[in-house]
């Protein structure tokens, strides 16, 4: 990570140097150099995406694998193959689809003006636009440009504007005066009467009667419009230079609305006419034609009735989407005159520039959805996308800045996780002027959808399906899956095959060549803080899970951990801390092999039983009422009595021992004091030494034949400390002090007191009210509890039919726990027995063996006999060769599906971890492999590896 950061910084520095150099050569001005540096550091990059919707005219509107070069917030070049300057940041989005920032051709973002004026050209929507507000929500829908409507509640509501969201406040307004908004129809009828106050009040200024405003009918609206426009035209007569010469008229009374309208008309303002009814539309066209206004029509739900007139006039139309995702649609009732809010765009109008905007009061962010709904109104797919990009920009007069991805336009880009206009498609990232203004939040970015032509779940094959991974776990598999908003979507294509991640059933990844003999108390997983660099090699080969165990397991068995080959947190990295137990019975006598196992299992069983008993007692205790508990409370405490009854007696151990421990990695010998007491062959007491923070720690153990064996009651992850010492002379002790099996220190001590010590820690603190006490935790035996619960399996390394024959009965008769045979050379001769024991075999690393004169392939032999098999690497990052080995087995005659199962579901089932890995099903870890062809075919490429829902870098 640090290396990456520094590399990045370095590159940035390089970029700036280069930029500075170029500019220095071009024009040697210091000021310019500084300016160039500042500009280039922001908003300059190359973006490569799987598909780019440029929305340019003609066939070039879609570019596959397109690249966009952005410099200083502007698009400089677009194409499948463009010249990329040196030292420019590259944004690779191979799964993404990029389109221009969406343009909302209408919006109520400016609110509505609060005036009473029926004709209020003096209001400006731009006044109500807050360039400093956080438009994150609207941007998250991909909308980067909006038209600001001053309101639709009066005949003339003012001047509309066009603004960019997410831009720097100073650069947010694209057009301050876009058009003058005129609304027609019932909703503008009967405006309130206007009261005019003359100030300051005096006897001279009488209170005027309130002014009744028009319109109150269809007739009135155009009457009022014509009157206002005429008044505005003549308003300035007498004001403009020389305009009044000879006219002799009086300077007209100042009127703010007329003054504003006069200015607008003088500047040749465009009109935006909001009309739904055919009659209003017709009259609007008439009005504009006779006065020579250019105009855009909004609403136009009855455009069908006047289609030919509209087509002839070539008017641009902003339709309201026939979709109300949030608000309910109003009841229209039987009245045939009520305007239907469903939309139909007649064919004659589909060639006009058409824009789609959201219905009033509906969320601005859902513009893509509104465009999608326009398809059912009759628009083609392309026209629907154009209606929220380039056509909308044209109608707003800002197509030279936004609406398409072409050189010279602003770098307003929307990154989608799928094809536009689909309900499941969401915005992942938004750029405005080359600056990222929206990015999928962390919460959502941990969601991934993988689509492929074939999904092999481990059991079934889904043609054309998808997998949803949320927060590292698979939550849905099927032909369709829910696509959470803003989720990342990988569409691998129809040829691709998705399989579960592969499993190395026995490997040593992460042990770094440590060949020490270890017991079951040591967990290989616990030594891992994070994935080491070599893990990535294994991951990239497709092996996502490794069942790690020591090279040399202890005779009492060693622990197996299931780990992932990639992961940032412990939880991601470790699949199962105790995933199994491994015993090596290689080279043991068939006669004793069974007993070795039985002995280990017996101890484990006893431990498990103790816990079961405890849990049962605890359950009973908890079920008891409080009265019973109180009754039991009165019983004398047996243990306390025992302690009191013990008498000190002279013996070789009892007393206070003082000495020291020394050895690597202790920097210097450490003193310790032990107070011990012997009773029978049991020793108990306390220890005060360098760990434990000066407290006395409880010790207990045995003493027999001059050998003292003590365990210190301290929970350390790598195992409890133990003392193994001999009393070599009276009152003198030598031996070792061990912590787990990792550390071993020399120990020497002398007895300084023979008096029985006062042991400060009473070992058995029985709960006062008879609550059962938990058995002592033994790390080495802990896995057995899972084993006897059937959650994990025992792996037994065996060779030869004799040993196999001796081992099988142990599990069939004595201890019915899951088990697997490891290597099991000679298993072919015991196929029926193995099949009968319902177990499987982890194949040896050698695929072919020569038996007699024939090649013998164990995998083929066993799988044909119905015995599940799995593959092992018996190596560390050598596990990367596992898929190739499986392919080789197929070449030697193994069934391809069986080989695939051996790497995935069979391995997982045998190891009892199919609830986590090896299969694509709800609840499992999100480990997926995406092949561009049939998996395990040597010609197929493993294109992506996903572990815990996160892609492993290539």
């Amino acid at each position: 990570m640090e290396a990456m950061t520094s590399a990045l910084t370095f590159r940035c520095r390089l970029t700036r140097c280069a930029a500075a150099l170029v500019v220095v050569v071009a024009m040697p001005s210091v000021a310019v150099v500084e300016r160039a540096q500042a500009d280039i550091s922001e908003g300059t990059f190359v973006l490569r995406a799987g598909r780019v919707y440029t929305m340019a005219d003609g066939d070039g509107w879609i570019i596959e694998n397109g690249m966009i070069l952005v410099e200083n917030g502007r698009i400089v070049a677009v194409g499948a193959d463009i010249v990329v300057p040196l030292f420019v940041d590259m944004i690779e989005l191979p799964d993404a689809i990029v389109m221009p920032g969406l343009v909302a051709a209408n919006s109520s973002l400016a609110g509505r003006n609060a005036s009473e004026d029926s004709v209020g050209p003096r209001y400006r929507a731009v006044d109500a636009f807050d360039a400093y507000a956080d438009y994150g929500r609207i941007l998250s829908g991909g909308v980067t440009t909006v038209y600001l409507n001053p309101g639709r509640h009066r005949l003339v509501t003012g001047v509309g504007a066009v603004a960019k969201l997410g831009a720097a406040p100073g650069a947010a307004i694209l057009r301050e005066t876009a058009d003058l908004v005129i609304n027609l129809g019932e909703r503008v009828f009967d405006p309130p009467a206007k009261q005019q106050w003359l100030l300051p009040p005096s006897s001279d200024s009488r209170i005027e009667p309130s002014l009744v405003q028009r319109p109150s009918s269809r007739l009135g609206q155009f009457l009022q419009l014509r009157e206002s426009f005429d008044a505005a035209t003549s308003y300035d007569v007498g004001r403009g230079d020389g305009g009044r010469s000879g006219a002799g008229g009086k300077h007209s009374q100042y009127d703010d609305n007329l003054a504003a309208l006069e200015g607008l008309l003088r500047d040749g303002v465009r009109l935006r006419i909001n009309a739904d009814r055919a009659t209003d539309i017709e009259q609007a066209i008439q009005f504009c034609r006779e006065r020579g206004f250019e105009f855009v029509l909004t609403g136009a739900s009855q455009s069908e009735l006047v289609a030919d007139i509209l087509a002839r006039a070539g008017v641009g139309i902003v339709y309201e989407a026939p979709l109300r995702p949030v608000g309910a649609r109003p009841n229209l009732g039987p009245d045939p005159d009520r305007l239907d809010d469903d939309l139909y765009i007649p064919p004659a109008l589909r060639d006009l520039p058409i824009a789609i905007a959201g219905p009033e009061g509906e969320p601005h962010a859902q513009l893509m959805l509104y465009a999608a709904a326009a398809r059912r109104a009759g628009l083609s797919r392309r026209a629907a996308i154009e209606a929220v990009t380039i056509h909308a920009a044209k109608l707003l007069g800002v197509d030279d800045r936004v609406g398409s991805i072409q050189p010279g336009r602003d770098a307003d880009l929307v990154v989608l996780n799928g094809e536009p206009l689909l309900a499941t498609t969401h915005v992942r990232r938004v750029f405005v002027n080359g600056r990222t203004v929206f990015e999928t939040p962390e919460k959502q970015s941990a969601k991934l959808v993988v689509k492929a032509g074939t999904i092999w779940t481990g059991e079934t094959t889904i043609k054309g399906g998808a997998v949803l991974v949320e927060d590292g776990r698979i939550t849905a598999v099927g032909e369709t899956v829910p696509v959470p908003p803003h989720a990342r979507v990988i569409d691998a294509g129809p040829q691709a095959v998705v399989t579960p991640g592969f499993i190395d059933s026995r490997g040593h990844l992460g042990l770094e060549g440590d060949r020490s003999r270890v017991g079951a108390d040591l967990s290989p997983a616990k030594a891992l803080a994070r994935a080491r660099p070599e893990f990535a090699r294994v991951a990239r080969a497709g092996v996502t899970t490794v069942l790690v165990s020591a090279y040399r397991p202890d005779s009492k068995g060693a622990r197996i951990s299931a780990i992932h080959t990639a992961g940032e947190t412990r939880d991601e990295l470790i699949v199962k801390d105790a995933a199994g137990l491994i015993f090596s019975l290689r080279g043991t006598d068939p006669a004793t092999a069974g007993d070795v196992l039985r002995k280990a299992l017996k101890a484990g069983k006893a431990y498990d039983d103790a816990w079961k008993k405890y849990h049962k007692a605890l359950a009973e205790y908890k079920a008891k009422g409080p009265e019973q508990k109180a009754a039991e409370k009165k019983k004398p405490d047996a243990t306390e009595d025992e302690v009191k009854a013990e008498k000190p007696q002279a013996d070789p151990v009892t007393g206070t021992w003082e000495g020291s421990v020394a050895g690597e990695p202790l920097p210097e010998p450490q003193d310790f004091t032990a107070r011990l007491k012997l009773s029978g062959d049991q020793v108990e007491g306390s220890l005060e030494t360098f760990f434990g923070g000066g407290e006395e720690i409880e010790v207990s153990g045995t003493f027999s034949e001059g050998h003292l064996s003590l365990e210190v009651d301290l929970d350390i992850p790598i195992g409890k400390p133990t003392i193994e010492a001999d009393i070599d002379e009276p009152d003198h002790l030598t031996g070792t002090f061990n912590i787990g099996s990792r550390f071993s220190f020399e120990l020497e001590a002398e007895r300084t007191e023979k008096e029985a010590p006062e042991i400060k820690i009473s070992r058995k603190r029985k709960k006062k009210d008879g609550e059962p006490e938990a058995p002592k935790k033994n790390e080495a035996l802990e896995p057995y509890r899972d084993l006897f619960a059937g959650k994990i399996a025992v792996v037994i390394d065996v060779k030869g039919p004799g040993v196999i024959g001796a081992v099988l009965p142990v599990f069939q008769k004595d201890y019915k726990v899951p088990f697997i045979l490891l290597n099991a050379e000679g298993a072919g001769q015991a196929k029926e027995q193995i099949a009968g024991a319902k177990t499987g075999v982890i194949l040896p690393t050698r695929a072919v063996r020569r038996i007699g004169r024939e090649d013998y392939v164990q995998s083929v032999d066993l799988t044909r006999g119905g015995i599940p098999v799995a593959f092992q690497s018996d190596a560390e990052d050598g596990a990367r060769g596992l898929p190739d080995r499986a392919a080789y087995h197929i070449r030697l005659g193994m069934d391809a599906t069986a080989a695939l199962r051996a790497l995935t579901i069979d391995a997982a089932r045998l190891m009892r971890c199919d609830d986590q890995v090896g299969v694509l099903q709800r609840g499992c870890r999100g480990d997926l492999l995406i092949f561009d062809g049939p998996p395990l075919e040597p010609g197929s490429r493993l294109s992506r590896v996903i572990i815990n829902g996160k892609e492993v870098g290539r």
Partner: protein
């Protein structure tokens, strides 16, 4: 309360030092306030007394005071650990470790105390007035003079909190408001209180009640457009009038007529209600422009630039305005910050709450800011020193924080040469504090305004009531009798002989009586 008045009236010092009768009244006002019911009579009495004094005394005796041995924080320079201030009349004559003590000087020992300039409340929006706003959106013809209510407790509280200068303005709920006024928090009539009349005009960019931004901006723009239009018409009319007088025919186009007529406009031609707009647009009247939101800031600057008062405008900001700090920095105009110093908002996507310390942003950008307080709250924001202390706590330099409640507001009001620091030549507007001005345990012990001690905590009846123990409440008369209790001996009344007195905030040691005098 009566006792308070008597106390003042009979104090030798008060009588001998007054220059004018008006000042006498001013000085006495604080003690009179609580007795609001008898005010008209009181006023008459004092009027008469003042006239009497002026007539009999005959001369205005310049009072000379030396504040000796205090820690002086002059704001303009280094703190003087132990120094003195010489005051003659209403002005400071000297500040230093030692000052020359004239023979007639009354020496007040302030050792152990801190001397600090009177704090300045630079934007009192609608407080201290009968009501904060008029219902008319564009009303530049209004004047807060008509609304000031000297009897309000607000002024008494301001004095108690160490505020010596208040800039009374119309509230923010307007489009163009009326004229403001700079006052002392002491005096019986608006005239007595006044330091500077008709100082500035109020403009609001944030919509007033019932308005939206479109309407607000349209109204604001048109107020100026209409004014310009009116002026043009006036010019034209004046020119026509002139031609008529000369019996000539109109011979030029209107534009020329306007041009020629502009010079002919007489002051009396301008209607009263437009007079202030004229002053404003000619840059003769400062404007305090209220911007509640960041989006208002560029609009305010544009309006000011378009209409010729940009060079004289002060922006009064809401807490969100820190977002427009780039615009503010470029504009280079002084700003008054909101009393809420921390802006909080929630990210719409992540739901994360973001807090911004606004003065920190301004300080970093180099924007000159003054701090405001919020009256009517029981929180710390009601004190200016608290606002400054918070700035220091958030990393702003102490000097800048102290300036933001003294010198900078004075400069914003154009009174930088009179208030805001303790320097020779400035008005003697001085606080005697029990400790550091930014320490929450500090009390304002005395306030000197225009060279006259107008507030003494030992005489503050309300504080006494507030901190009175139950026994004291019962036995107020006993306190009266106990003249020698340390809390009630008054240094000011001891015939020029300074005496040290330890005033503490302990309830038990608070002076019990209210009417001690010689």
């Amino acid at each position: 309360m009566d006792g308070g008045r008597r106390d003042c009236a009979e104090s030798v010092e008060t009588w001998t030092v007054c220059r004018t009768g008006v000042e006498t009244m001013r000085r006495c006002t604080l003690w009179m306030k609580p007795g609001g019911g008898s005010r008209p009579w009181g006023r008459l009495f004092w009027m008469l007394a003042a006239i009497f004094t002026a007539a009999v005394g005959g001369r205005a005796v310049a009072q000379t005071i030396v504040l000796e041995g205090g820690r002086i924080i002059p704001v303009s320079g280094e703190t003087i650990k132990k120094g003195s201030i010489l005051i003659r009349g209403s002005k400071i004559l000297a500040v230093g470790k030692t000052v020359e003590v004239p023979f007639d000087a009354k020496v007040i020992d302030v050792s152990g105390k801190t001397l600090f300039p009177g704090m300045i409340d630079v934007h009192v929006a609608g407080l201290g007035l009968d009501r904060p706003n008029e219902n008319v959106p564009v009303a530049p013809f209004l004047n807060v003079y008509d609304a000031i209510d000297p009897s309000l407790l607000f002024f008494e509280d301001a004095l108690r909190d160490g505020i010596a200068v208040l800039h009374l303005m119309q509230g923010n709920d307007c489009v163009i408001g009326g004229l403001s006024r700079v006052v002392h928090p002491i005096g019986m009539t608006p005239d007595e209180m006044t330091i500077v009349p008709d100082l500035a005009i109020k403009i609001a960019i944030t919509p007033k009640t019932g308005f939206d931004r479109m309407l607000q901006m349209a109204t604001l723009r048109e107020a100026f457009l209409k004014f310009a239009d009116d002026m043009e018409r006036l010019a034209e009319e004046r020119y026509e009038e002139k031609l008529r007088d000369e019996k000539k025919d109109l011979d030029v186009p209107p534009a020329v007529a306007r041009e020629r007529g502009r010079a002919l406009i007489r002051d009396e031609d301008i209607p009263d209600k437009d007079r202030n707009l004229l002053l404003l647009t000619r840059g003769k009247l400062p404007a305090f422009i209220y911007c509640g939101r960041a989006m208002d800031v560029p609009r305010a600057i544009k309006i000011a630039k378009d209409n010729g008062f940009f060079e004289r405008c002060v922006l009064v900001l809401g807490s969100e305005c820190y977002k427009a700090v780039d615009v503010l920095k470029e504009a280079g105009r002084p700003v008054v910050l909101d009393a809420e110093l921390i802006h909080r908002e929630t990210d719409p996507i992540t739901g994360k709450e973001i807090e911004t310390f606004v003065p920190g942003v301004m300080d970093e950008a180099g924007v000159t800011f003054a701090l405001q307080r919020r009256s009517g709250t029981s929180l710390g924001e009601r004190y200016l020193w608290y606002q400054a202390a918070r700035c220091v706590r958030e990393g702003i330099s102490r000097a800048a924080a102290l300036e933001a409640i003294t010198l900078r507001p004075a400069q914003m009001l154009g009174l930088g040469d009179r208030f805001g620091t303790l320097e020779p030549g400035k008005d003697a507007s001085i606080l005697v504090l029990s400790g550091d001005p930014l320490d929450s345990q500090t009390w304002v012990e005395k306030v000197i305004i225009e060279g006259v001690p107008v507030y003494d905590k030992a005489e503050d009846i309300r504080l006494k009531k507030l901190f009175a123990t139950p026994e004291e409440e019962l036995g107020g008369a006993a306190g009266d009798a106990d003249e020698k209790s340390p809390g009630t001996s008054k240094p000011a009344a001891s015939g020029g002989q300074a005496s040290t007195r330890k005033t503490t905030t302990e309830k038990a040691e608070e002076p019990a009586g209210d009417g001690s005098h010689d």
